[in-house]
Subunit: 338 residues, 4 copies
Amino acid sequence: MIIVMRRNATESEIEHMIAEVEGAGLKPATLRGTERTVIAAIGDERKAGDLRKLESSPGVDNVMPVLAPYKLASIESQPTRSVIQAGSFAVGGPVVGMIAGPCSVENEEQIVATAKAVKQAGATALRGGAFKPRTSPYSFQGLKEDGLQMLATARDETGLAVVTEVVSPEDVELVSEYAEVLQIGARNMQNYRLLEACGKSHRAVLLKRGPSATIDELLLAAEYILDGGNPSVMLCERGIRTYEGHTRFTLPLASVPYLQSKTHLPVVIDPSHGTGHASLVPAMARAAIAAGADGVIVEVHPEPEHAMSDGYQTLDFPAFAEMMGECQRVAEAVGRKL
Amino acid sequence: MIIVMRRNATESEIEHMIAEVEGAGLKPATLRGTERTVIAAIGDERKAGDLRKLESSPGVDNVMPVLAPYKLASIESQPTRSVIQAGSFAVGGPVVGMIAGPCSVENEEQIVATAKAVKQAGATALRGGAFKPRTSPYSFQGLKEDGLQMLATARDETGLAVVTEVVSPEDVELVSEYAEVLQIGARNMQNYRLLEACGKSHRAVLLKRGPSATIDELLLAAEYILDGGNPSVMLCERGIRTYEGHTRFTLPLASVPYLQSKTHLPVVIDPSHGTGHASLVPAMARAAIAAGADGVIVEVHPEPEHAMSDGYQTLDFPAFAEMMGECQRVAEAVGRKL
Amino acid sequence: MIIVMRRNATESEIEHMIAEVEGAGLKPATLRGTERTVIAAIGDERKAGDLRKLESSPGVDNVMPVLAPYKLASIESQPTRSVIQAGSFAVGGPVVGMIAGPCSVENEEQIVATAKAVKQAGATALRGGAFKPRTSPYSFQGLKEDGLQMLATARDETGLAVVTEVVSPEDVELVSEYAEVLQIGARNMQNYRLLEACGKSHRAVLLKRGPSATIDELLLAAEYILDGGNPSVMLCERGIRTYEGHTRFTLPLASVPYLQSKTHLPVVIDPSHGTGHASLVPAMARAAIAAGADGVIVEVHPEPEHAMSDGYQTLDFPAFAEMMGECQRVAEAVGRKL
Amino acid sequence: MIIVMRRNATESEIEHMIAEVEGAGLKPATLRGTERTVIAAIGDERKAGDLRKLESSPGVDNVMPVLAPYKLASIESQPTRSVIQAGSFAVGGPVVGMIAGPCSVENEEQIVATAKAVKQAGATALRGGAFKPRTSPYSFQGLKEDGLQMLATARDETGLAVVTEVVSPEDVELVSEYAEVLQIGARNMQNYRLLEACGKSHRAVLLKRGPSATIDELLLAAEYILDGGNPSVMLCERGIRTYEGHTRFTLPLASVPYLQSKTHLPVVIDPSHGTGHASLVPAMARAAIAAGADGVIVEVHPEPEHAMSDGYQTLDFPAFAEMMGECQRVAEAVGRKL
């Protein structure tokens, strides 16, 4: 932690801050510059509580943390990349994981047909929502346990691992019976009770970045799960909210190399939510793989025009198959495969 | 709903969209312009599902909703402004509600002393967190039920209504025993299970805007509570995430007059989270009242430098008392009082 | 400047950075922490070029500046607040400067009528664009020198100082003949040739913040003008671009107290561009004054519905007069007057 | 243009708007829905001035444009993709244009060495700034005409086309003598005088997107150049400003497919400014090509650590050569080459 004093800070204000640093269990080093005094607090600042509060102390200009606030998720705690195995599905190794399926499970015929089509095109996991968090109370809220059963049927028929969202701590056990991967949606990235419940699960977790979360906040959310005892966390970049209006969210693919420099956890990209328009999805799926993503999750539906949710960003079967061919070639160009 | 076709849309694509609009229970009106064809879908589009999915249909350029997606929260459903009464505390009438207290309840002495000081300065409700959603799993997580009891003690000694956060549906009942107002934090604005549970409570709800939520999303979150049967919802603008780095969030005070033109629900401003720096709080509290806010919620602590959370944005007692004097004068200037 | 080394930085990488800091004319202080090594560079880092380039050096994690990059604009170089006098118009003292007028000068009748109306309502300066930077090449581009002459006529008839935009360095002399205040628009905040030309002018300058400029960038743009020899700079916050779609820009009023803590230059707020909707302007003008703004600039037109530009955010005469009464009361509440 | 009336709009307000639409030369079609009345204005709304001003008319809720505001840049005006030829350099055809070189030209040795190295690695154009717009007046401002001459020397020795920035209308002629491509920087995207001057040049133009410009604003800036008579415009996405702090800007690669669906002009990506960190550049260059970019522009310097500007985002020669090999493979995977 670096504490920058105001230019006109008094000696007693400086002394006071030195005492505060010591009181927090850290070792102060005081640098009296030509322009102002800087106090460095040496030691593990993460154990010392939130020292930014010292910004409200007299004579302090600002307080700058030096260490990343997460530990278990950090590449410094584990320099080799994690490979997450979930049933037949693996993410983090040489094979790029391709997860595909509808936004919502609507009926058995729809989910089984989609599972077969995406498996045929090369996908390695099936997505599909049974519990749907919806912006409007008047929107379709999902088939719940019936939907989970349909997903299980689709898995039985194709061998694809199932990725599905869990929206509440009390549902974690139920969803874990049916799915290989528990998805935590963007709206729930900071639902700490849910993170804690997933931390106690034996299932892998796909944790989506909140649309205004920083990378540090995403890694701290992952830290909740890791700290709970579950090491199988995949991070998912699905776009952030910016002033751009022509896409639903802005998909910052630089998250891929940046995350890979900070954490050992695998990184999955969601170009469907990340763009909000089916026509933009294939280009961004290719780009994600070229950037080094460990996985891609894409919305696919037999008939996007009549999907019960997210139709505008959903590929039909032929578009998905074409995209998979392109992605295969890009994966090979960067030394991986699908 | 307005469907704008591409310039080169074919006649059969246009016919197809007309059929889709009819299939959704709406009445199509087709306008063949000099540049392109536009199809207006007449009727209550909110009953017709999410028609934006038609954007993925062939020949369609874009789809623009005409109606706001919320109903009960809309000023069109109730043209007179709602006044929310919660114990001795009222928001939405001529008196601007002033809610003050620490980020976290730390011990009985702290919360009682703060309650007395803010009451003395003119506050009408006491805030204080017992259940704390924290970004890091290593941060202080709150005193839970013990904290609620301390809040109740502070209420008994001062008569102030208690506003405290609830972070999980299963805690709604417990928190309702101790608090007059259930606060839903920004991170939980789209925790729909929690919204539904608050919708069934008899307690008033203070619903904070998520840091990347649109105003429509905030009003749809309120709609979940209203639709559940609880009419007592106060909206709280607490700042949005933007590229500005010198404040923790960006506090868009234009939300006050904008919300008041769209909804009958009262609007409360949080200048503490909205700025993240104690030195900026009083100016923004005054500005909020000048803009017409129905309430202000501010963090106050006996000793911000040693607060267990949010110290950098917390006022001490003298600073709060001074701010209250300023706010009183501004309130009178706009025809209200504290 | 604080240089944070990576955890696994080698001794020779640390030695290399120490040498780089010395090479830049600064004095290194090396802090070997339990977690990583930090090198503080003591001295005036602003003279040392952009040291962030050291981030590309081996073993470096990140580089954090300690000093603000601007000097003349800094409150540290001048602790008393600047009062800018421009003809009959002053900004920065106890009187809040109210600047009003149309987006574009359209004809003499329009500008003279507006000048009379806003003067009558209490405005102290007249705005009006003669050179119009327009997003589209097909939009009205302004009356140019004819417009300047009309503004001068309006000044002669009312005594109001004239504030008008200059869009190109070669026009600075011409505009200076007609106007008391040269306005630099948001799109030109980083047009350095224009800033330099205004730095050589004897006229006061109203410098608008670019819609994605940081506060540091705004103050550095002001620094260009101050460094050129012109001390009469007013800063104007007119809103930033964020994801908010219901307002044209997001008006962050916390800029007022924040700027006042960092610079001695006066701060003017533009609620017209800051909201983009006439109905939101009065509330934000009141809020700006309550927050401590030194001036407010507002678009007013005899008939906004038929204005040649910006009609949607422009007040008519009765609305402006009503707003002025409200602002007067708020100004008095915060110890100022209009 | 679609005008949505308020729910309680009166008949005379509706009649008034119909008259306004007719007065603007458009044909009104009035749709009386169950919820509210909508008036569609049929015809080329771009000829009718900025009709958003009607939002300030009584009874109007909002006004939604239907047509894109640009014409010449639109894919509707030219359905085949433009190929821009500038000396030996072409962008928009099957070969992805690779532009590389230092942020600033510092001396002849530096620029010639860089030109040889990037040519050797496969680049097809040389970038280098002689006129430097700098955020701080205290930063290096470029070698000006001396720098242009050094660029010409580097071209003579390598055959690479020269891309260099022009910051002022009066420099367009001078820069055109030395460079094949005039670069308009992000800060100048809305410097309309400069756009007009480039519109009269015979040189190709690389137009960078402003960091808070919308895609429509970028295309309208291009429209200024096209409308001036110069058809050779390349668009450059270089990142937008968002709340992300770990990258200098956020690089939204979805701009590539989106722009290609709206305009015939080629699209170049700048991963150096788009990320601000050398370590993130190669991944984003690969991703840009996978997304379908027509060109990539990258900062390269013999010794980034000692560059006079932008060192933190600049590759050295070995890193650039390695990146080019990767990009070559990705280009082939998407059916193109370097």
